[in-house]
Symmetry: C2
Subunit: 132 residues, 2 copies
């Protein structure tokens, strides 16, 4: 993580974040080097703070209803190089260096299919080897 991108304190003109009625924001994770979109997940205020503090991507799991460190069980962590905010503050972009693959299916990206079901992504690991 670059210190300059994620300082510990926020400046006066830091954009205000507009969390939704569940106190969450959608977050796009993008490979900082290739530009590939890896996944879309959600973050709570605490998840954003943890991400900034640790430099590792944290999200909030809506299905498990808990703070979630990406790669906590798989080891496929995301080093966050930069966090960006959209114009109305209701979406975030994590620009990351992805360890292994982002998708639990073994693909590098969760967006590995076209809308017609054609496989367009690359499989980078076998989930049976990673998840018990």
């Amino acid at each position: 993580m670059r210190e300059s991108a994620l300082p510990a304190t926020m400046s006066a003109d830091a954009p205000e974040l507009a969390f939704d009625e569940q106190s969450l924001l959608p977050v796009i994770a993008q490979d900082a080097e290739t530009g590939d979109i890896l996944m879309l997940a959600y973050a709570s205020s605490e998840a954003v703070e943890r991400t900034r503090e640790t430099g590792l991507a944290h999200y909030y799991s809506r299905s498990r209803d808990e703070l979630w460190k990406k790669g906590g069980s798989s080891g496929h962590t995301q080093d966050v190089e930069e966090i960006r905010v959209d114009c109305d503050g209701d979406a975030l972009l994590y620009r990351v260096d992805q360890e292994g693959g982002a998708c639990h299916t073994g693909y590098e990206s969760c967006f590995y299919r076209s809308i017609d079901g054609e496989i367009v992504g690359e499989r980078v690991f076998d989930p049976d080897d990673v998840y018990e």
Copy 2:
């Protein structure tokens, strides 16, 4: 739009889309050539169908509560080259050729700021010239 990417009929293994309780899905718009993330918006089933039919990005505006053709007032349309679906079918990716800029502020991308407020994006038009 490439015919092969957006055929009029869906194949048997087309991924099922998991719309949320408002019957919407988040959609990431990505510049197909540069990989830049342009915006995050939402789509209804009808917005997805219109996008497929016309090859131009359609969304659903949650604030205006209506189907919305991107660039309808600004002329800054998005030619959709490909639509991708994520692993659990609850997010879409439009890979687009953006006319003008995606953001109503004049920036190419809505994600033109870091979380600390640093401007990292490029301004490509003056909103005063585009919106009346």
